[in-house]
Amino acid sequence: MLGFVARRLLLAVFVLWGAVTVVFVVVRLVPADPALLMAGETATPEQLAALRAEMGLDQPLIAQYLQYVGNTLTGDFGRSYTQFVPAMDLIAQVLPNTALLALLACLLAVGVSFPLGLLAALRVNRFSDRAVTTLSLTTQSLPGFWIGIVLMLVFSRQLGWLPSAGLDSPQSLILPTITLALPFIAILTRMVRSGLIEVMGEGYITTARSKGLSERTVIFPHAIRNALIPVVTLVGLEFGTLLGGAVITETVFSFPGIGRLLVFSIGVRDYATVQACVVVIAVAFVLVNLFVDLLYGFLDPRVRNSR
């Protein structure tokens, strides 16, 4: 078990290094010069040169890279070019919001999709299955921002039940959570359904039935635990996407989150903040997947010793 974790950690470091390097390279491929953005359209070449020196942009790329990796290792992501505070401070302001949002969306998705998927799987090809499948397909077929805006117009504008912008109260989380969770619910429901259908055809389910167990006991825990295994992996992968992909929801609901910070920082070419955001998102992704791997090991004893 310990070796398993160690191996996972090692690979995680590799993934992080990859993300860190990619963001460094990609950010520097962009033509717009952060010094120019800071200095404005009237800046003279000397001014720009001075600014670049100050920002360390005049150094050879490889030196910048080494410096950057070194700093990142010590947890120093540099100062924001535009906000003049450590980039990490900016992230610390908004990361908890997005993390909470993603977590709530995840919980909601799991909480809703399991019963739905179960219902559909146990009544394959009957009405309830068709209804659930159609509903989830439809949900998946609408753009997320459109769903968000419509939810907002209905629940905030028309009914006036829920706040539509910012994060002032717990109620402020409801609409963004639903918006973020909906497509996820759709995927997960279908995943749970197909996973369960597959499992229900396995030999051990027949064995369980042959023991005279009630259909309920056959499903809980025999079928469900096996069906969970692929679903858990998906949740892990999607959670990473939720973190990085909350931008749309955050924009619709003017939610102070890391997605908007990232987009904004890219807009103003705030390298330090962009890099820090990406590292944070990558770390979250890696941690969640590490956790998922462990959970996987817990759920499926076959992977525990063999890997």
């Binding site: 394959v124 090809n125 055809g201 396995e202 030999g203 051990y204 027949t206 064995t207 369980a208 039935r209 042959s210 023991k211 005279g212 167990l213 009630s214 259909e215 006991t217 825990p221 025999h222 635990r225 096996n226 295994i229 759920l299 499926d300 004893p301 076959r302």
Partner: protein, 341 residues
């Protein structure tokens, strides 16, 4: 075409049979059409007796077992005719839920494939203990105690520690024993063993067959042994039913069938076995290939491969019958049993 089996008066023993299958018909719907997997299967088993079901691959042996246990794959397969008498009830007519209550306590089953039949994510101890907990309402500790006893009984070494292991940590033979432990947990009155030793080598196979025989001697349970290994069957079973293309083509005592097969299929089967002492001799297989269940030949399904076939075989479906002068209970579904003998 179908033969509603006439209730035959049993002349062998006075006891009513434990299980009696009459004219069982099972169909599967597949993308290629409806497939009749069982077409009028009839047989019976008594307490303490071992009935062997033999037959080639795909002849419907496993499906018969599944039908009895109400375990046919849903929604593809269903019973479309016939009766399954157990304890005075026709369980073919009862809802699946009702039949399941008989499972494990009355009828239990050992499956063909021991790896896929054990749940990979639960400890074997828990799986073996499950019948005690769920059906007998024992608490966990008590049930595990019972499970341990059983595992020792079926010969799992170090059962005390291994009870906490998972299925994938056991060898094929051990898994098969765990399956047996689970099946016999509640001392069923009838055990159906579907090819319990196919995947195992001869030494392990012998151990398992001994185990089953011991159990039977102890509790007097009836045993249906499904196999295609004629040798294994001969060791343990008293009677046999031989299946071909979803029908029982011959039944009777093992010895009668082996020594005087009255149907060309069992006859051909027996002749195909490489016989000891005849090293290097050419084998004599049955010519032709197995029937396609989606297009079963008319009349006697075996006729295209049968050297005895005459015109009537191509048109009329033969019924199980006991020709004059045969031992009681030995019946064959062949128009020309007399010639075959």
């Amino acid at each position: 075409m179908t033969e509603p089996a006439t209730a035959r008066v049993d002349s062998l023993e006075g006891d009513p049979p434990l299980l009696r299958v009459e004219g069982l018909e099972v169909e599967f719907s597949t993308s290629a059409g409806v497939l009749r997997a069982l077409d009028g299967v009839s047989f019976e088993v008594r307490a303490g007796e071992t009935l062997a079901i033999l037959g080639e691959s795909g002849s419907g042996k496993s499906v018969t077992a599944q039908a009895v246990m109400a375990l046919l794959p849903q929604p593809a397969g269903s019973i479309v005719g016939g009766r399954i008498w157990y304890g005075g009830r026709d369980i073919a007519a009862e809802p699946v839920k009702q039949v399941r209550k008989l499972c494990a306590t009355e009828i239990a089953m050992i499956f063909q494939d021991p790896l896929s039949s054990l749940n990979p994510v639960f400890r074997v101890g828990d799986q073996v203990a499950e019948p005690f907990r769920r059906r007998r309402g024992m608490d966990k500790r008590q049930a595990l105690g019972k499970a341990l006893e059983l595992l020792k009984r079926v010969g799992i070494p170090n059962a005390e520690t291994r009870i906490r292991d998972y299925p994938h940590q056991f060898s094929g033979g051990q898994r098969q024993r765990i399956m047996i432990a689970m099946a016999i947990a509640l001392k069923p009155r009838l055990l159906i063993a579907d090819e319990p030793t196919t995947a195992l080598d001869v030494t392990v196979q012998a151990q398992i067959m001994d185990l089953l025989a011991d159990l039977q001697a102890e509790t007097g349970m009836g045993l249906i042994l499904i196999s295609h290994d004629l040798g294994v069957v001969a060791d343990v079973a008293q009677r046999a039913a031989i299946m071909y293309a979803g029908r029982v083509v011959e039944t009777g005592s093992i010895r009668e069938i082996y020594d005087h097969p009255a149907h060309p299929y069992p006859k051909g089967l027996l002749e195909s076995i490489p016989s000891e002492g005849a090293r290097g001799q050419r084998l004599t297989p049955i010519s032709g290939s197995p029937p396609n269940l989606l297009a079963v030949p008319s009349g006697c399904p075996f006729h295209p491969r049968c050297e005895f076939a005459i015109d009537v075989c191509r048109t009329d479906v033969p019924m199980l019958r006991r020709p004059e002068g045969w031992e009681a209970g030995h019946e064959a579904a062949c128009h020309r049993s007399e010639e075959v003998l």
